[in-house]
């Protein structure tokens, strides 16, 4: 197949659930090209990819695939034709081996007995397609790092015909090195003539990996042009539909005495002898690769996990506190806004008011009996203070967008007046507009004299909002940088420092399952 020829085209494609979520999209996917697909959350990226990969059927419009009309009735039909999608959540069985996962739907067998030798051969060949034939096909998938698991998933999609391959936020869980591995493979596939769709928020990645960019906004295609024509700022503006300042004014703050002092915090080899302090009115960033121990560190401070050793001092003046449970942490005035808001933060099927009130029920009840009126008022107060976009306080949190869900979690903590607030990836999976709302809120909290700890994988974000940035690497705090004295290169170098003595490729993605 010659490169840059249209493999799959959609015309006037639209999808309506209760409301239209995608309207009149016309787009070509070309062989040998990586098309970046981006847009705010809820802009219709997922819907479009689901229509193409057969998970949903369009309400309007047609699709053409390799010159034929194309309307897949199911995902398996689309896959048979060679249209495949690597989902954000990996669809692998961790207890089965690499080989078994690869050929789960078609295990080579004789009269029901699996032919192990043939399976191994096939698996090695399939893994060679992603350049990883060095991995023993008999390794259970659960023992691989997330990056390698994703390669297994990709390899599985390359078995048989594959002309269109869609990646949905493939780097969300990957370390920088695993991202490199992924990009190498994508480039290889592109050269083979596969039409690749790469969905992501991360503009740097899109600019590196793709040739053409399609931006969706509110279900409409805003542009589909060569990516080189746009600067990052222009792309953000296209996505949001309004100007977003690159700099934010954190306002006047008084940075005072230390409010939180952590000393020698250690747990196994995940967190090793970490000490730091955070002052009142300060935003303290923690950077590092995924698996460097950032989330683990916050959980230790919060008492969600037990530390092997280490101490915490809190308050003005600093006093030692013993935190052995989240309950004790909250009583001492520490809050943790977790990274995994769906798994660890929210009661998704329940209302906004129930979620905001969780942890604040004392304030909206008398003698253990809830006051529905007070509960609703509490929710309404946070909905307006946090500008949560919702139908009513009774709306289920699961129906809100990621940004609004995050605001619900934060709103819960604002009611408690904690002095130290720790945010783990506060803007993960949140669209650009809502990100700036969150930054504004962090600034407001800092102005009130609270001590903030922010963990983020987005270094630009930390450099935008933090007063100091500490870098964790392989569980150790390598260095703390001041705003005046940091550079992106220095911080990145520090992030890798702890791994240099290790067999990095297999260990840096120490699985950090959200369980």
């Amino acid at each position: 197949m010659s490169a840059h020829e249209s493999v799959l085209s959609v015309t006037g494609l639209g999808k309506t659930y209760a409301q239209p979520v995608l309207g009149d999209v016309t787009l070509d996917l070309r062989g040998g090209e990586v098309l970046a697909l981006t847009g705010e959350n809820g802009a219709g990226k997922s819907t479009l990819s689901k229509l193409i990969s057969g998970l949903e059927t369009p309400t309007t419009g047609q699709m053409t695939y390799r010159g034929q009309p194309y309307s897949p009735g199911s995902r398996s039909e689309a896959e048979r034709l060679g249209v495949r999608m690597v989902m954000q959540e990996l669809n692998l069985l961790p207890t089965l081996t690499v080989a078994e996962n690869l050929f789960l739907d078609n295990l080579p067998s004789h009269a029901g007995w699996i032919s192990q030798k043939r399976l191994r051969q096939l698996a090695t060949a399939a893994m060679a397609q992603v350049g990883l034939d060095a991995i023993d096909p008999d390794t259970p998938v659960g023992e691989l790092g997330i990056g390698h698991q994703q390669m297994v998933e990709i390899a599985r999609n390359l078995i048989g015909d594959c002309h269109v391959l869609i990646f949905d936020e493939p780097t969300a869980m990957l370390t920088a090195r695993e991202v490199e591995l992924l990009f190498t493979q994508i480039e290889r596939l592109r050269q083979r003539g596969v039409a690749i769709v790469y969905i992501s928020h991360r503009l740097e990645e899109l600019q590196r990996v793709s040739q053409r960019i399609a931006v969706l906004r509110d279900g409409k295609l805003v542009c589909a042009e060569p990516i080189a024509r746009y600067s990052s700022n222009e792309l953000v503006n296209l996505m949001v539909g309004r100007e977003v300042g690159e700099h934010i004014d954190l306002g006047r703050r008084e940075i005072g005495a230390p409010l939180l002092k952590v000393e020698h915090m250690t747990r196994g080899d995940k967190v090793r002898d970490v000490s730091f302090e955070v002052r009142a009115g300060e935003i303290f960033g923690i950077s590092g690769l995924i698996g460097a121990g950032r989330t683990e560190l916050l959980r230790l401070i919060y008492g969600a996990d037990r530390a092997d050793s280490g101490s915490i001092q809190l308050g003005r003046p600093l006093q030692p506190v013993n935190i052995d449970s989240p309950k004790a942490a909250v009583r001492a005035g520490i809050a943790l806004i977790t990274e995994d808001r769906k798994g660890e933060g929210l009661l998704l099927p329940h209302s906004i008011s129930a979620n905001v009130a969780l942890g604040n029920l004392g304030a909206v009840s008398r003698a253990g009996v809830l006051d529905p009126h007070a509960e609703r008022q509490l929710a309404e107060r946070q909905i307006s203070a946090m500008r949560i976009r919702s139908a009513s306080p009774a709306q289920a949190v699961g129906e809100l967008s990621g940004g609004n869900q995050q605001k619900v979690v934060i709103g819960r903590w604002l009611e408690r007046d904690c002095q130290v607030l720790m945010f783990d990836e506060p803007t993960r999976g949140i669209d650009v507009g809502a990100k700036f709302d969150i930054y504004g809120l962090l600034a407001e909290l800092a102005r009130q004299g609270k001590a903030l700890v922010v963990v983020s994988s987005d270094l630009r974000e930390l450099m935008l909002i933090c007063d100091r940035i500490a870098v964790l690497s392989a569980g150790q705090l390598i260095e703390t940088f001041d705003r005046d004295g940091w550079s992106q290169d220095q911080i990145l170098a520090a992030a890798f420092a702890g791994y240099q003595k290790r067999d990095a490729l297999l260990h840096d993605a120490a699985p950090r399952m959200d369980a």
Partner: protein, 330 residues
């Protein structure tokens, strides 16, 4: 979907099918009514004062047990030991009265306390070692049954009419036991929907880690729910003693399945986080009316079991369909 649904007829539509609204209750009431009409056609004696009175005096045990089980299922647990714990409580009462010559009230309190203790043990072991309550309560089931045999020497202990006021109708064929069970239901529904305790239980069943990280220790609440289950099994034991005038160490064998069936017919989720005491009450009525109706039309024991089993499966299928439709509406 433009087709008007039942819910659009003025009843409040609750979002995501998680909460129990009037629609759910109307559905259950409709099913109950349909069964009553059906049995009235099949048997001329069915729709009578006698049937009503018998029913009202036989179901208090099931009612209070089902209340406890609803709480247990809401936190995502299960308690298989309720029948045995009931027998243990009854045996304890018989030993206290017959062996030690205790009077009725302290004996009754002791029985309930022992039952609550058995429940607390299930809860504490479940929580402390993070073992599924299914397994723990299976062990407690055996232990409680064994103890009941031990206490009574494996014989039915005749206690007499000391407790009979519980089951003797006072007005309209209704006994104090039924009234107590009804009060338990009302109180439990209020606890579930209007109190901090109830809210935490729903939270724990929906996402225990989120509750824990919100600064709430879920463990005492979980143990409390199992203790409450035990306490209610003790209360059911008193109801049963009063009706049989005896403590039977074999009592309540297999009862746990009937209780779970009633709760699940009401629409409480086995996965936790979703449940309603009112719905459970309908579940109890449905399963009891079915049993009484089948007995009246002279169905054989095998037929009764086949039909009851089928009704359980159909009810759960219908409920799944209902909640999926409610979810899809959004």
């Amino acid at each position: 979907m433009k087709t008007p649904t039942l819910d659009s007829a003025g009843t409040p539509v609750r979002r995501s099918g998680t909460y129990f609204g009037l629609g759910t209750y109307l559905g259950l009431a409709g099913a109950l009514l349909a069964m009553i009409v059906l049995f009235s056609f099949l048997s001329s004696h069915f729709l009578s004062y006698a049937t009503f009175s018998t029913l009202a005096n036989q179901i208090p045990d099931l009612m209070v047990l089902a209340v406890g089980m609803t709480f247990v299922l809401i936190i995502g647990g299960i308690d298989l030991s309720v029948g045995s714990v009931l027998a243990l409580a009854a045996s304890t009462v018989s030993v206290a009265i017959l062996g030690w010559g205790w009077s009725v009230l302290p004996a009754a309190l002791l029985g309930m306390a022992i039952a609550a203790l058995a429940g607390s043990i299930t809860g504490a072991v479940t929580v402390a070692w993070r073992i599924p309550s299914f397994i723990v309560s299976l062990g407690v089931l055996e232990m409680a049954r064994g103890l009941a045999y031990q206490f009574t020497d494996s014989r039915t202990a005749y206690i007499g009419d000391a407790f009979s006021w519980f089951s003797n109708p006072i007005a309209f064929g209704i006994s104090p036991a039924f009234i107590i069970a009804l009060l338990v239901i009302i109180l439990a529904q209020l606890v579930l929907t209007r109190t901090v305790f109830g809210r935490y239980l729903i939270g724990i069943g929906t996402n225990e880690e989120a509750v824990r990280l919100a600064g709430i220790d879920p463990r005492p609440y979980k143990i409390g729910v199992f203790a409450l289950m035990g306490l209610l099994a003790g209360l059911a034991a008193l109801f049963q003693i009063s009706r049989l005038e005896a403590a039977d160490p074999n009592a309540g064998s297999g009862l746990e399945l009937q209780v779970i069936a009633a709760v699940v017919i009401g629409g409480t989720s086995l996965m936790g986080g979703r449940g309603s005491i009112i719905s459970t009450f309908f579940g109890v009525l449905i399963i009891s009316v079915l049993a009484a109706g089948l007995a009246q039309i002279g169905a054989s024991e095998p037929t009764k079991r086949i039909i009851t089993g089928a009704v359980i499966v159909i009810a759960v299928v219908l409920d799944t369909y209902r909640s999926r439709r409610a979810t899809r509406r959004n």
